[in-house]
């Protein structure tokens, strides 16, 4: 399967990465190189094989549903590019 410029643009949009129009053909070519390599997987007989969900046999631990650490809003916000009055600030989302 071959990826064209429009598909590359769609993937970039889904990934929320701006790609200028003139860079799309080269990007599509790179996708094709990589996907061409991945295509080999189609040769493998995977009939009846379960997809792996965890590499080691383990049951995830359970714990009480309680706050273990908290009350540190200032630390949480300390690396934000824009934080005001105890909140992360972003461009207007709702008119």
């Amino acid at each position: 399967m071959s990826i064209d410029k429009d598909t590359a643009a769609k993937v970039a949009k889904l990934a929320r990465i701006r790609v200028e129009d003139d860079a799309l053909p080269a990007l599509a070519q790179e996708f094709n190189d990589i996907l061409g390599f991945i295509e080999q997987l189609a040769e493998v007989d995977v009939e009846g094989v379960e997809p792996m969900t965890g590499v080691t046999p383990m049951r995830l631990k359970r714990r009480e549903d309680v706050v273990t650490e908290g009350g540190m809003a200032d630390k949480v916000l300390s690396n934000a590019p824009d934080a005001r009055e105890g909140f992360f600030a972003v461009p207007k989302v709702v008119e």
Binding site: V11, V44, P51, V55, M58, N79, A80, P81
Partner: protein
């Protein structure tokens, strides 16, 4: 270069305990070597003040007796580890200025054991790369040289490998998602072990592909790898995949006795076009283990060929999900916005400016293989192939094989810039011998075992049974003793 920074962890520990040297002296020696090694671009954030403070505390603790083995040992820390109050950028522009308010569990474990942090080490951006050429800090450089070219130290833990090989620190932390500890260790003539998935907590390590990522030590020899690994691992409630199993004294398991151990030689790792030198190294390593009393057995891991393509579906898929958090809201870079730009423009511009090309490529490939209509064909198929790859290993271990011997890399270190025009898949082939181990969650170790005709290092990899790092380290120790590799790079930097 000062003599103290050349010490191994084991030698430094013994000297510290005897009172022949102080941690502060060791630390100052490393700091001065780091200062004069700018040309290697291995250390990217130096933390001399933290180091001196930790060294003094370590010296007090050693005086008090019963200090742990890592107490007072100066280390470099890969930039992927979050270190409290110290820049932790995963070598990415998108984390510019990020100073975590918390400490990763692995670095905390090391600090609790008394280790000293000299600074943060260069790497490929978000650990995506095999040559340390995708770093926002620029290339790290291999201290080994055979002509005028600057060689890659490998990647993604390139800064760690370069720093340890050049004796800028006694040892360093690395992380390995597809070979990022073992490949750079092989390229620089040092030892690197990726433990079993779950051995080291992933908490506080910037995530690339969560089902594959593992931290491990990069050291001057196998004994040091055993000492440092013990300090790094242990169960952590903050990582739900952390293994709740006892951590043995790995160093005590280094007897060098491998009589009767069964070493598997997988025929699928003999690839078309493999350089003769790699073939010879592998044969020599096999002979050394046989001479040491091991039983050599030809084995088959039939799905090996499909490991790399499966990896290049699974790792980008997980990366596209993990890296969604870099949105310009909570930390790091945010793009300057134009009048009228909304939140979507903020995301798109921030990510376009903050991520490098290889990271963008992998995030987008991951997005594609997870998107509606392709999820089954790519992502689910790759996860099924992963099940088969793991099953291959389970089969040979069930048949009595104790460890598997393979080359670590398909070539020796190449020149920086030599792969720039190659398509991305050519670079991915560097991981061909290492990536199976991550997919199967197994421990793997690379130990220097020889040089090619130019004089560049080649490493051999041992793959072990899950959670049996002690046994694996002992096999590696036997090989290290037999190979007798001691060369050091000549200082040119």
């Amino acid at each position: 270069m000062t003599e103290l920074s050349k010490l191994t962890i084991a030698a430094a520990r013994d000297a510290l305990r005897k009172g022949d040297v102080t941690s502060l002296e060791l630390t100052e020696s490393c700091l001065s070597d780091i200062d004069s090694a700018g040309a290697l671009n291995a250390f990217v954030h130096n933390t001399p003040d933290v180091a001196r403070e930790q060294a003094k505390a370590a010296d007090d603790r050693i005086k008090g007796g019963d200090a742990p083995a890592m107490c007072g040992i100066p280390l470099g820390i890969k930039d992927l580890f979050c270190t409290k109050g110290v820049a932790s950028q995963a070598a990415s522009g998108i984390l510019n200025g990020f100073k975590p308010e918390y400490e990763s569990t692995v670095t905390q474990n090391l600090f609790d054991a008394g280790a000293v942090m000299l600074g943060k080490l260069n790497m490929d951006e978000f650990a995506m790369g095999s040559s340390n050429e995708t770093s926002v800090y620029g290339n790290a450089v291999n201290p080994w040289k055979v002509d005028d070219r600057q060689l890659t130290p490998g990647g993604s833990s390139g800064g760690s490998a370069s720093a340890v090989a050049a004796d800028l620190c006694l040892a360093a932390t690395g992380t390995d998602t597809g070979g990022s500890i073992r490949q750079p260790a092989a390229f620089t003539g040092i030892t690197g072990i990726k433990p079993t998935y779950g051995r080291c907590s992933r908490w506080g390590i910037v995530a690339f592909a969560s089902s594959l990522d593992q931290a491990g030590p990069m050291t001057k020899d196998v004994r040091d790898a055993a000492i440092m690994l013990e300090a790094m691992c242990g169960h952590d409630p903050k990582d739900s995949t952390s293994a709740d199993i006892p951590v043995p004294n790995f160093e005590a398991m280094l007897t060098g006795d491998i009589k009767g151990k069964v070493i598997g030689i997988p025929r699928e790792y003999r690839m078309d076009g493999m350089p003769d030198e790699i073939e010879k190294l592998w044969a020599d390593g096999t002979a050394m283990l046989k001479d040491a009393g091991a039983e050599i057995r030809d084995i088959s891991l039939p799905h090996t060929k499909y490991a790399l393509p499966a990896y290049y579906v699974i790792a980008p898929a997980e990366a596209s999900s993990n890296l969604a958090r870099y949105d310009g809201v909570r930390y790091g870079h945010r793009a300057k916005l134009e009048q009228g730009d909304g939140i979507t423009e903020m995301y798109e511009k921030t990510r376009a400016e903050g991520f490098g090309d290889e990271v963008k490529r992998r995030v987008m490939v991951g997005t594609y293989v997870l998107s509606a209509g392709f999820y089954d064909a790519y992502y689910n198929r790759a996860r099924k192939v992963r099940t088969l790859i793991k099953r291959d290993f389970e089969q040979v271990f069930a048949d009595g094989v104790d460890a598997i011997l393979t080359p670590a890399t398909p070539s020796a270190a190449f020149g920086l810039g030599e792969m720039t025009d190659a398509d991305p898949v050519q670079m991915y082939l560097n991981d061909v011998f290492t990536v199976t181990v991550n997919l199967a969650g197994l421990p793997g170790i690379s130990v220097p075992a020889g040089v090619d005709k130019q004089g560049l290092h080649l490493g051999l990899q041992r793959i072990g049974r899950p959670s049996e790092e002690g046994d694996l380290l002992n096999t590696a120790y036997a090989l290290e003793q037999a190979a007798g590799f001691v060369a050091k790079p000549e200082k040119w930097w």
